[in-house]
Amino acid sequence: MFMGINELKNAKNLANIRIRDNRRITIWLLLVFLLLLGSNLSNSLAIIFNNSESHTIVRAYNMSDNSTLIMFGLFLGIILMNCMYRYDNAKYVVFPQTNNSRFLAFNLNVAFFAVITPLMLLLIYLIQYGVISLITTFRDNVFLVYEFNILFMLTGTVVMIVNASILAALINFIATILRRFGFYAGIFLMAILVFTITNYSLLSNILTKILFFYTQESSVWLFFLKGIATITILFFAALVINKYTLYYKTVEKIKTTLMVIICIILVLAIFTAAMLMDNATQQSGNDADVSKSIAIGNYNVASEAELSLSWLQRKEIEIDISHLEQGSSLSVVFTDNSDIMQNISFDYQQVTNIQGNTVVIDYMLPFYVVNGINVNQFAEQKLTAWLDENTLHIEHNYTPDLRAILTPMFGFMRQFDYFSGRNLVSESFFSSGAHGDGYVWISIVK
């Protein structure tokens, strides 16, 4: 056993004291989140109530969706905590403790932040969702784009906790090595930095693969398994190294430690930038594909790929005109209360000399897609057609002044198949949007 019951109890008590002492930081963190939420909410509400456009997409973002920024913040925070390991421990030196219990208490304190931050984000999201939901109950034209799903939220919170814990375990592992081997570890990291500069693509590929091992895992359970295994291995490895690090043996020079930490940050920053660049390249490729398919849609050439997108699906209305005299004319009246976002092109053939028994109205409704979701679905737009003697009436209706509100949460959850395509999360890393006109094509068939 690494630690006895007494040591575990001691670590728990020490961690409790540390966490209680850090409650000020926790409160500040929550206040910052609340402030950002307040700012975003006021902005969103101003758009909802004041904007005069008929179609408005309100991106009511909050920090819950900004996982990259949150992770970067946590990354810096955990590095700072590790840099201050000795300085911070000096505040608790008067209390009985061992090297192990001190180390465990420190890690429990870090883990507290890794857990409390996602929980705060959940709270922030619930507040935001509650306020906007309240508005939707009073305003018929206001719609929440993403669905509310408790399993999604809870899983997202746990996934974020696991992500943050992996990050914390990794940084802690590196920091423990630095504390144990000090100067030599610093030289090793400098060598890595030099190697990175000279063999950038090779290391970038390796790190991308490591990153994708977690971020491209599509099964939630496998992700948890990988995460817990990684955290356990890194933590116990660090615990073993720490066990052989005599805490009070030497007084390390802070400058050396800081230099080494800066090296780590630089190395990680380079890799992060490289990976983000890779993602951006992939993303722009996807955007191009979407644009292409939309362009094709407008020219009525529907491929299989397009048909898989619900908003590009063609529909048909058939009206029996067998009672009309062959060779007579059919006048078409098209009523469209559409605006600039809802254009429908209109075309027909053979309506001046009827040679058939059925009018086929082939149509596709206009779409307005944001982050993979056609927000026009909330406008309940529909095309109706009826015959009044020799006049064919076609009417396009929808709810005017649509306010479609995006309240995204835990964007990283798009990696999991279980939650993908269920209108719970933005389907792409970057925010995307596209809109296309609809069309009506009238033909008469025998």
């Binding site: 209680r20 009985p96 061992t98 219990s101 009070y248 007084v251």
Partner: protein
């Protein structure tokens, strides 16, 4: 009486600087020991090693029969406080007392709160807002409220005014009588704590100069004064640790030996040496030449 601390040839060095140099001592339970020495003598280093906050460079150090470092069973019975202890930046006194209460099984929170009131300290004050004297009082309160079997107080009265210092010593003595334990106090002001000490450890430049019962220590030296020739004759073959020749041929010498029953020349005056003065004589460097140079 059993030994609480056992040190044999204990040394600690920082690079080339030797902070503690081959110190050997045994400290028994239920006593108040004064650890006396000049600045940089090695008092704090010795206490830190005992408290398990520093590793030893050489020698053996056992506290309650075992090395104290990383031994939770031992460390829970040791408290080591000093005047400039660090706590979390915004901690209030009551919160720090709660933390002590959590970490020390024998900590008497009620007693600590009573002491705060006794010394007129508001428990809601923030630690960082305390003056040096108040911080010293607070750390002293926490130290003795732990009721640890080994209580070590490093310069506990630093910055306190004389009234508070006196009150603190009274509290310490009463607490010791009510709850006996081994208490080690390091201080420069031996004259103030002399009355409550049972033993004294004197160290200088890391070396153990003296470790004795305080009563035996008081009898371990005496002062002899008279005409220089008489004094010179008397101190022959005696362990003289200080000698001063004043104007008018009068002379005074400090002899670091027990006074025997041998008759003394009636022209000589023999008197006791205060414990504090003895410590000064035993540890002072000869800087008379340097002193004169300051005005040349």
């Amino acid at each position: 009486m059993s030994n609480i601390i056992k040190a044999e040839q204990l040394s600690k060095s920082y690079g080339k600087k030797i902070a503690v140099d081959k110190v050997s001592l045994n400290i028994s339970d239920d006593c108040i020991v004064g650890l006396i020495g000049r600045n940089g003598a090695g008092k704090t280093t010795l206490m830190k090693m005992i408290a398990g906050l520093l590793d030893t460079t050489e020698g053996v150090l056992e506290v309650f029969g075992k090395p104290s470092m990383d031994n939770l069973g031992i460390l829970e019975n040791i408290v080591f406080t000093y005047h400039d202890l660090e706590y979390a930046k915004h901690s209030r006194l009551v919160e720090i007392i709660d933390a002590y209460s959590t970490m020390y099984p024998n900590f008497d929170k009620g007693f600590a709160i009573k002491l705060l009131n006794y010394f007129s300290l508001d428990s809601k004050l923030k630690y960082k807002a305390l003056s040096q004297g108040m911080a010293s009082i607070f750390n002293f309160i926490c130290g003795i409220s732990c009721r640890a079997k080994l209580t070590m107080l490093d310069e506990p009265v630093l910055g306190m005014d004389v009234t508070v210092r006196k009150a603190a010593y009274e509290v310490l003595l009463h607490e010791f009588n009510e709850n006996p334990r081994t208490i080690i106090i390091s201080s420069h002001l031996l004259s103030e704590i002399e009355s409550i000490l049972s033993d004294i450890i004197l160290i200088d430049e890391g070396k153990l100069i003296l470790f004795d019962n305080i009563d035996d220590m008081r009898q371990s030296a005496y002062r002899v004064a008279g005409e220089q020739s008489d004094v010179e004759k008397f101190i022959e073959n005696k362990n003289v640790i200080d000698k001063k020749v004043s104007l008018g041929d009068s002379c005074e010498a400090i002899i670091y030996e027990k006074l025997t029953d041998t008759p003394i020349d009636p022209k000589l005056t023999v008197s006791a040496v205060r414990a504090e003065d003895l410590c000064i004589y035993l540890t002072k460097e000869n800087k008379e030449g340097e002193l004169k140079c300051l005005w040349e």
